[in-house]
């Protein structure tokens, strides 16, 4: 087979060129000043700068991370309490009627604290270290308490809706009529 010797490779298509040479980031016009407070550091640029800086920082000690973790766990423990005012307002606003929205809201009101209570250990597992172990029980107790407060709000709401069997009329069906010991037979007609 006769081969025609390749004299010259064909020029690469335009798209290959485009691919190989991406448009350069626009060079900033040095004559225009940045707005005040703007620090010119693109994310990538900053990252590169940061990464270049981090090795310079010395790693935190275990005591420091423990303190941080404890701080973080406290934040988590208080979180349910932060939602309380909002929930309380919502519940107050939704009224005591039995409607689909109020029922769903009450359901959520119960679901969240109960879920939280069930997963208490999981929530705080990532903060659990040798150092924090001894102090974490306080955090957990606080968390449980806060969830209980949220639950109490739910119970208050359910009571407001009249769903708690706390009154005499709720147990009326189980009460029985008194039986007379004597019987009268009537012979009038």
């Amino acid at each position: 087979m006769a081969k025609k010797p390749l004299s010259k490779p064909p020029p690469p298509p335009q798209w290959v060129i485009d691919l190989n040479s991406p448009p350069r980031p626009k060079s900033k016009n040095a004559s225009i000043a940045n707005p005040p407070g703007y620090i010119e550091a693109a994310s990538s640029g900053k990252r590169s700068v940061a990464s270049s800086k981090i090795p310079a920082r010395k790693p935190p000690t275990t005591a420091e991370t423990d303190t941080l973790k404890l701080k973080k766990s406290w934040e988590l423990a208080i979180a349910p309490a932060k939602a309380l005012p909002m929930n309380a307002i919502m519940m107050y606003m939704s009224g005591n009627s039995l409607q689909i929205f109020s029922i769903m809201m009450v359901f959520m009101l119960f679901k969240n604290p109960i879920q939280g209570l069930l997963s208490t250990n999981e929530v705080f597992r990532r903060f659990e270290t040798e150092g924090t172990k001894n102090q974490l029980w306080l955090v957990k107790t606080c968390y449980v308490l806060m969830n209980c407060v949220a639950l109490a709000l739910g119970v208050w709401k359910v009571n407001g809706m009249g769903l708690l069997p706390t009154t005499r009329s709720d147990w009326l069906a189980w009460e029985t009529e008194r039986v007379p010991l004597e019987r009268a037979v009537f012979a009038f007609r």
Binding site: N96, Q99, S169, E177, P180, E182, R183, A184, F186
Partner: protein, 986 residues
């Protein structure tokens, strides 16, 4: 309950909208039934008559034994109009008189001292006139042509007074007083004179018939009275058989006591024709009736009807006016059985129609040959084998061209049925014998195939035998398959299209809703009948349970329902046991076997066996049968001496008197009420708006005694405990009218009564006007609670039983544990003559008060929700009261037309209402009965919440489902393709 505020508020509105309706328009005439009865038609007051000179068709008029004047359409037997001449409470011994003037448009009736004329077409009262004495006879004056004046003979003290009253107005034209002291008997008007017939008592015995002639236009006596007979012939008024008033020639026919001879006189002459009464083929006549045409233009022919013990025959007489004699024309031969004759005329022709149990024979008065005869057995005989006699008949004969005749006869049968026969064809039957009901009871229909029994039998056997038994049972069941599958398309179609009438189960079988029940009724004439309440009140059977003498009535006290049978207890210890489905009498014990015995009461002994205990008239118990009644069984009786007694049953034969209740001096016990025997209570307390509980005072032994002080015009209501006899509560209403109906009822923990008295309902400042206290009809509703305070069960606390005879130590201080009573009074527009309460299966549905309002001719249903005594007075209800469904009290309670259960029906003379639960909790069966009418319906006090209404279209539902199914199937391929295309395109 608080949770229900938002649900309740709109639902209360819906509730009140729905409880307002006693019956829906599409259910009217479907679920209810009504028999408008007249009472037994009387022989001399039953006639065919044209309501006005212009009308072509005639109506059938009757004045019945219960003094109801009615017009019946001869075509279908429907009542055109009815009027009651006497109040049912009025004691009526005399029968009424009825005259229908020829070619007039009014009817004239007289009863006691009252003459009334009625529009014959619509039954409206034209005028009425009251005399001081009893009206003995009424007659129309023959003189004037268009409007005929009325002549009336009344017996006032010793005087007989004849008056002429103007036809259109009832004004008195003249008055003739006859003070001879004779007993007035009758009046006959002939041409320009009026003949007054009186009975002059003879020296020794018997009467003389005295005829006095008066001038019809002035009322002056003409000549001297003539005396017609010798002393011994007329022994009483019954001896006079006929006074021919309106025939062309006035005649009087009388007989002697032994029915030996018959004397005929043309009034105004002295000549008397004497006829020896024949004894045809050896049968002696026991009763003689004369039939003559009422028409003045008809020929003077009359028929004498002889009734023997078991046969009858007749003789036709012609009057020769010129010679003033009557001559026998021909005989109508003797026939077996008791038959009836009736006379009618057309123009001058007089026809006599003879009715026997087997045939109708039409003869002309002129000749003895039979014009036409039909073999006919009246329809009301039904399946009865033996033919019935015919008591009396009225007929109308129309002669057509070619000597054909149209004959309509209304036959009254001894059973009380009233039947019309047209040209030998039975046309309709009216069960008039059912009037005068004294007692009724609902009876559930027994299961026909007892599946439970069969299944029990299977479980007892070994597996193989049980299997064979089941297979044979299923094979046996296959015989019903063709019928069932044959009826299936019709049933399906009927239920789809909503044709309720065709889906009614005509057979006597239980239905799924429990609407199919038998109503057993007993009448004062000794008849017993069963109606099908699920099938428009159709009569299932109707028997003469006891045979009574003419004036006797059957006083049924009570109907007790047992398994498949019913025990009917009447006065004097008489009782009767019948099979409910067929009416077969199983056992009969005549009354008055033991002197002063009133009735028996059945008491269960400690082993659960029924023991009958005799109760005497004076309220004492008879000797007890040997039985062990256990501890604390007390029989409460009401004696004739207005004393209510409680008797303790012990082991011996002597009952011990435990307590006695006597009302205050000057009072007598009017009635005693107890809670209904079936009175289930769904909840023992009432949940308040704040979710506390007011406990109901529930005591099955309560008695509500109504005592009336006649002289002080006061009514007192006592609530008694039936075992200890202690008065728990009492209230007195002074200044009433004790002749007005005072009725009461009790159920669950409440009682209600209605009376006419001084009003306490309106506020204090308006109760008196000029020193006069306001009076009116009132309805009072009271509820009993265990305590005034919510969540409190009174002194008994949480104990599960109680004894009022031996109170526990806990209530020594307050030994009666008296309930807290809340009452509210409403002013109502009219009297209530009977009150009862609906009854449902579980007692969950709010009860409804069923009241008979005689002024409205209606039965109304007032929901208890309207009558809650806790309704706030003088202020709007608070939110929690609104939750309970309470609304502001207003003292006036109008009977809303929506409450009327009998809607457009004219229900008259009902005095009792009974109720029975159906299998649907929402619905109660109702049956009202009394002296005349019977009415049955269904009532849903708070709406029929557990059954689809007639408005629900099953067809629409099925069509929607089918359309959806078809649509889905059609669209499926397109959707699938689109889905696939979409996947590819993605």
């Amino acid at each position: 309950m608080r949770l229900s505020v938002p649900i309740l508020l709109p639902s209360v509105a819906v509730l009140f909208a729905s409880i307002g309706h006693a019956i829906f328009a599409d259910e009217a005439y479907q679920t209810d039934y009504h028999l408008p009865l007249l009472g037994l038609p009387q022989a001399h007051t039953t006639l065919f008559h044209r309501p006005s000179a212009a009308s072509k068709a005639s109506l059938l008029y009757t004045l019945s034994d219960r003094l109801v004047l009615g017009a019946v359409n001869p075509k279908d037997g429907a009542v055109v109009w009815r009027q009651q001449l006497a109040n049912q409470a009025e004691n009526h011994t005399a029968s009424g008189l009825l005259k229908a003037p020829e070619r007039g448009n009014t009817l004239i009736s007289a009863f006691n001292g009252k003459i009334q004329t009625w529009d014959a077409t619509d039954g409206r009262l034209v005028w009425e006139w009251q005399s001081r004495g009893r009206i003995r006879s009424i007659e129309t004056a023959a003189s004037s042509e268009d409007e005929k004046d009325i002549l009336a003979l009344s017996h006032e003290g010793a005087d007989a007074i004849i008056r002429r009253l103007a036809a259109g107005t009832g004004y008195l034209l003249w008055e003739y007083v006859n003070a001879s002291g004779d007993t007035p008997y009758s009046l006959v008007s002939y041409k320009d004179s009026v003949f007054y017939l009186s009975l002059h008592s003879a020296l020794l015995k018997g009467f003389k018939i005295k005829v006095t002639e008066l001038d019809a236009s002035t009322g002056k006596q003409i000549g001297q009275p003539t005396v017609l007979n010798s002393d011994s012939e007329v022994t009483s008024e019954d001896s006079i058989l006929h006074v021919g008033a309106n025939s062309d020639v006035p005649i009087i026919i009388w007989t002697d006591k032994g029915l030996k001879t018959l004397k005929i006189n043309i009034i105004g002459t002295k000549q008397i024709t004497t006829v020896n009464i024949p004894s045809s083929q050896g049968d002696l006549a026991e009763e003689i009736v004369v039939h003559a045409s009422r028409s003045s233009t008809a020929l003077p022919h009359f028929l004498i009807h002889y009734k023997a013990a078991n046969s009858h025959w007749g003789e036709v007489y012609h009057i020769d006016a010129a010679k003033s004699t009557a001559k026998k024309a021909f005989d109508l031969p003797l026939l077996g059985g008791k038959g009836a004759f009736s006379a009618s005329s057309q123009g001058p022709d007089v026809f006599f129609t003879r009715h026997t149990a087997f045939e109708n024979i039409l003869v002309s008065s002129a000749a003895p040959n039979v014009l036409n005869s039909w073999n006919v057995r009246p329809k009301s005989h039904g399946g009865m084998l033996d033919p019935q006699d015919i008591t009396h008949a009225a007929s109308e004969v129309i002669a057509r061209a070619g000597s054909t005749y149209a004959v309509r006869s209304a036959l009254a049968l001894p059973s009380g049925d009233w039947e019309l026969i047209r040209n030998g064809n039975p046309s309709w039957v009216r069960p008039e014998g059912l009037a005068g009901m004294t007692a009724a009871a609902f009876v559930g229909i027994a299961k026909q195939e007892d599946l439970a029994e069969e299944l029990a039998a299977e479980s007892m056997r070994n597996p193989l035998a049980a299997y064979l038994h089941r297979v044979t049972r299923h094979v046996r069941d296959l015989q019903y398959l063709p019928d069932w599958s044959g009826a299936l398309p019709k049933r399906l179609l009927g239920s789809l299209i909503g044709d309720k009438a065709s889906t009614y189960d005509q057979s006597l079988r239980r239905d799924g809703f429990g609407f199919h029940k038998i109503v057993l009724i007993a009448t004062d004439r000794g008849r017993l009948a069963a109606l099908d309440a699920g099938n428009q009140g159709k009569v299932i059977w109707n028997i003469q349970a006891v045979s009574l003498k003419a004036e006797e009535t059957w006083d049924v006290l009570d109907i007790e329902v047992e398994e498949g049978t019913a025990l009917i207890r009447a006065k004097g210890g008489e009782f009767l046991r019948v099979v409910v489905n067929t009416g077969t009498i199983l056992q009969y014990q005549p009354g008055a076997m033991i002197k002063s015995l009133k009735t028996f009461v059945s008491v269960l002994d400690s082993s659960g066996k029924k023991v009958l205990i005799p109760v005497n008239d004076n309220g004492c118990l008879g000797d007890l049968p040997k039985a062990d009644f256990g501890h604390g069984t007390i029989v409460v009786t009401e004696g004739e001496d207005s004393v209510v007694r409680g008797w303790g049953l012990t082991k011996g034969t002597n009952p011990k008197l435990i307590w006695r209740f006597m009302p205050a001096s000057g009072e007598r016990v009017e009635s005693v009420n107890v809670r209904p025997s079936y009175d289930p209570v769904a909840s023992i307390g009432k949940a308040l708006g704040d979710r506390n509980v007011l406990y109901k005072y529930l005591n099955p032994n309560l008695l509500l005694i109504t005592a009336i002080g006649v002289e002080i015009s006061a009514a007192t209501f006592y609530i008694l405990d039936g075992t200890s006899g202690s008065v728990i509560y009492s209230v007195t209403h002074p200044g009433g009218d004790t002749r007005q109906p005072i009725v009461s009822t009790m159920s669950e923990n409440w009682f209600a009564y209605s009376l006419y008295s001084e009003s306490t309902a309106v506020t204090q400042d308006v109760t008196q006007i000029d020193g006069q206290k306001l009076k009116g009809y009132q309805l009072v509703v009271s509820e009993l609670y265990e305590s005034l305070y919510p969540n409190d069960r009174g002194s008994l606390g949480s104990s599960t039983n109680f004894s009022t005879v031996y109170p526990t130590a806990a209530d020594e201080d307050d030994s009666l544990a008296s309930p807290h009573v809340i009452s509210q009074t409403y002013l109502i527009p009219g009297p209530i003559s009977s009150m009862s309460v609906t009854s449902t299966l579980q007692g969950i549905t709010t009860r409804s008060l069923l009241c008979v309002v005689p002024d409205l001719h209606a039965l109304i249903s007032i929901s208890k929700a309207f009558l809650d005594p806790r309704r706030p007075v003088g202020r709007d209800p608070s939110a929690s009261e609104m939750e309970e469904g309470l609304f502001r009290y207003s003292p006036l309670l109008g009977f809303e037309p929506k409450w009327i259960l009998s809607h457009k029906r004219d229900v008259i003379s009902i005095s009792n209402v009974i109720t029975s639960p159906s299998l649907l909790e929402s619905t109660s069966l109702v049956f009202a009965f009394g002296n005349l009418d019977l009415f049955g319906s269904r009532v849903s006090p708070i709406g029929a919440f557990d059954i689809l209404g007639n408005g629900f279209s099953k067809l629409q539902l099925v069509l929607t489902v089918v359309a959806l199914g078809v649509g889905t199937t059609l669209v499926t391929p397109f959707v699938r393709r689109k889905q696939i295309d979409g996947t590819w395109k993605a």
